[in-house]
């Protein structure tokens, strides 16, 4: 199973961040969420936390998405020392999406009203 992201449908409401932190911490705090939404003028980008990498990249670039320049760092899923997201705010312990257990029932997908996130078969 995987979570398919259609950024064109994302409205930037961040309910996925709320759902994720509620499911994992029993409280609401987007900074403890394993999914974060980057708000842009033209579109928003939901990005789901992947594995931890110990070192930050040496080279950083930009990508063009629909004619808009996007920082590669923003769409990278890794939790890494150079990024403020995907780590516990106090302890800096890295966070990674676990699909909300077995069988997968990701809460972010459940809470995504505009259907930007959907759970699909591999």
């Amino acid at each position: 199973m995987k979570i398919k992201i259609d950024h064109k449908l994302c409205t930037g409401c961040k309910q996925c961040e709320i759902a994720c932190s509620l499911a994992h911490t029993q409280a609401v705090n987007p900074w403890r969420s394993r999914i974060r939404v980057f708000i842009g003028e033209e579109f928003c980008l939901p990005v789901i936390a992947g594995p931890y990498t110990e070192a930050a990249c040496n080279s950083k670039g930009t990508l063009m998405i629909e004619g808009v320049e996007v920082d590669e760092c923003v769409i990278c899923r890794a939790s890494c020392p150079a990024k403020s997201v995907y780590k516990e705010p106090d302890t800096e312990i890295p966070l990674k999406c676990d699909f909300c257990g077995e069988p997968p029932n990701p809460q972010c997908v459940q809470w995504c009203a505009p259907n930007a996130l959907t759970l699909v078969e591999d």
Binding site: Q15, P30, E41, A113
Partner: protein, 606 residues
């Protein structure tokens, strides 16, 4: 603590200091939060007779127990102070991400006192509260201000793109700096705490912006119950056509609706129908023309916000929020401007300069009528300004910068209309411009506007579309109920737009109960709303506002402009006062105040 942080952050701008206080428990229980708490604090801490632009006024940014909790559409924050436009209590509501960030920083309320000797902006990152020089930001438009603050935070504090992106910023444009009495507070690229001129209060304190980035949490009392209730609510929402239409078109579907019901304010409320909007009756036309993306506030599944762009116009390069229906009416049809792109230009200018589109539009349309009738000579204007004239763009900039005649207009519509000898031509209530819907088209609307505590506002009670037409007594009752309910929702703080009609009060009570763990009922929250409404009324009375101010412009009262009807306010008002248990002058009775626990607050007034 559940829902609440229980903390107030108080910033003394005169001394350049800040301190954290515990939130008194009676504030949390008796006033819900947000708007109610603001009303209480203003009543307790400032003399209602003060000059709103003096350092004695206080500017409060307030969240409620639901802010940041994830309750659907608990997205908003309230800004409150004594209004420099209406001299009343004011509590404009604003969406975006600032409110949630203030809450996650660990505070429920942020109070600004005094006046900074130099321009400053304040940054809040959890416990770290800094007052920074803002001389280099002074004069900048709203979008540039936000950009410069983000850049500052990057270089000074090493914040990365994610942190900068998550931050919420409330700021003023040149209009607020120049104390334009209908300047607004802008937030997050186009959201606004729009009505009642609080941008000028912020400007009078030399406060250019507040930025918040919080990484704390909100605790929910009943997590499982809350999660299930949200899921159920989403299920219901999926099939609700009205809500789906909201996400698709926002308020863009309203010009068609308003034209059909002859309530589209046009030509300074001389008419209730605007021919040039016929081409926009299908909202798909507007969507295809200007939409960039659907934009939600924090935690709102319905995303009624619309980000737009004027394509191929280098003078207006950025995207903007809206225009909402009120904007389309007041800087559009009411000024005789029917081209959607020109309306977008007006909207863009007002947002960047930091002015309320509604009152700005009302002032300009008043000037247009004065000009057409020959009362406002062209030599004073410097150019022609009949209805529909695109010189309006130039005029808006002049108002924000107080250049030429703009200096007079920045004082508001009453000052302008009086100077040229026709005060009756300004369509305002308690100084504040009337919003988009022509009151003569609906029975309840005139009463709602006239009795609103903050002036001519459309978001403190609203149209009973879904109820159809009934007798006047019904509308009087509707008005009271709606005013009370919305006062409660504004205190949650819950965006009532999607909780209106059949969901009245129920969902608000439900979310409050799940989040705070205290037992709230629909009747209970509406009763607290009534208490808030009365407290605001008492503040206004102490500020010198009386029942005589519960009125409408003569045009609305006496000239049958729409459907050959006038508003019989002299018949409706007594009924309304009776229902509120106020006397014939609109003063709350002692018995009523005792019942609500506001007896002490009414001393000497009754």
């Amino acid at each position: 603590m559940f829902g609440w942080n229980g903390k107030i952050l108080r910033v003394d701008l005169s001394r350049g200091t800040s301190r954290v206080e515990d939130m008194p428990s009676y504030l949390m229980g008796d006033y819900i939060g947000g708007r109610g708490v603001c009303a209480r604090i203003l009543f307790d801490e400032i003399d209602p007779r003060i000059d709103p632009l003096s350092p004695a006024n206080k500017l409060i940014f307030s969240t409620g127990p639901l802010t940041g909790s994830g309750a659907p559409a608990a997205s908003r924050f309230i800004v409150s102070a004594k209004s420099p436009l209406s001299n009343c209590v004011s509590s404009p509501c604003c969406g975006g991400y600032f409110g949630a960030n203030l809450k996650y920083s660990g505070y429920d309320l942020l109070i600004f006192e005094g006046k900074s000797p130099e321009p400053v902006y304040v940054t809040i990152r959890n416990d770290l509260v800094e007052i920074n020089p803002a001389g280099y930001l002074w004069g900048k438009v709203s979008s540039e201000t936000e950009k410069a603050i983000r850049e500052d935070m990057r270089t000074k504090h090493g914040l990365d793109n994610w942190a900068l992106n998550s931050m919420g910023i409330a700021n003023i444009g040149p209009a607020g700096e120049n104390l334009v009495r209908f300047a607004c507070i802008m937030s997050d690229g186009g959201r606004a705490a729009g009505r009642s001129g609080l941008g000028a209060v912020m400007g009078s304190k030399n406060l250019k912006a507040v930025a918040a980035l919080g990484t704390g949490q909100v605790n929910i009392a009943d997590v499982d119950g809350f999660r299930k209730a949200v899921m159920d609510f989403y299920q219901e929402g999926r099939d609700n056509k009205e809500l789906l239409k909201r996400r698709m078109y926002g308020t863009w579907s309203l010009p068609g609706r308003a034209n059909a019901s002859k309530s589209q304010a046009a030509f300074n409320f001389k008419e209730g129908y605007f021919e040039e909007f016929v081409k926009y009756e299908d909202p798909e036309v507007i969507r295809a023309l200007i939409r960039v993306r659907d934009e939600a506030c924090f935690a709102c599944p319905f995303a009624c916000g619309k980000r737009s762009r004027i394509k191929n116009d280098p003078e207006y390069p950025l995207t903007a929020k809206g225009p909402e229906h009120e904007t389309m009416a007041l800087v559009g049809s009411n000024c005789g401007i029917g081209d959607m792109l020109d309306i977008c230009r007006n909207n863009y200018l007002c947002n960047e300069l930091g002015m309320d589109t509604i009152t700005a539009g009302a002032v300009v349309s008043c000037a247009m009528e004065l000009f057409e009738e020959g009362h406002l000579p062209e030599k004073d204007m410097g150019y022609p300004l009949e209805f529909g004239n695109r010189n309006m763009f130039k005029l808006l900039k002049q108002i924000a910068r107080r250049e030429g005649i703009g200096d007079l207009m920045a004082e508001g519509g009453i000052a302008l209309a009086e100077k040229y000898g026709h005060p009756e031509l300004y369509m305002g209530i308690k100084g504040m411009g009337i919003p988009a819907w022509h009151p003569q088209a609906f029975d309840a609307l005139g009463l709602q506007y006239a009795t609103c505590n903050t002036g001519g506002a459309h978001t403190k009670s609203t149209l009973p579309f879904y109820e159809g037409r009934k007798d006047p007594a019904y509308f009087v009752e509707f008005t009271k109920k709606d005013q009370d309910y919305i006062a409660a929702a504004d205190s949650g703080v819950l965006c009532w737009i999607i909780y209106h009609g059949p969901l009245w009060g129920e969902k608000l009570a439900e979310w409050l109960t799940y989040v705070t763990g205290e037992k709230y009922t629909p009747e209970g929250v509406n009763r607290l709303g009534e208490k808030i409404w009365n407290l605001e009324r008492l503040f206004n009375m102490r500020a010198g506002i009386t029942g005589k101010d519960d009125t409408l412009p003569p045009r609305i009262l006496n000239e049958p402009r729409v459907k050959n009807r006038v508003i019989e306010l002299d018949k409706l008002l007594p009924q309304y006062y009776r229902l509120r248990a106020w006397d014939e002058k609109g003063i709350p009775t002692k018995e009523k105040l005792r019942e609500m626990g506001l007896e002490k607050e009414g001393t000497d007034l009754i």
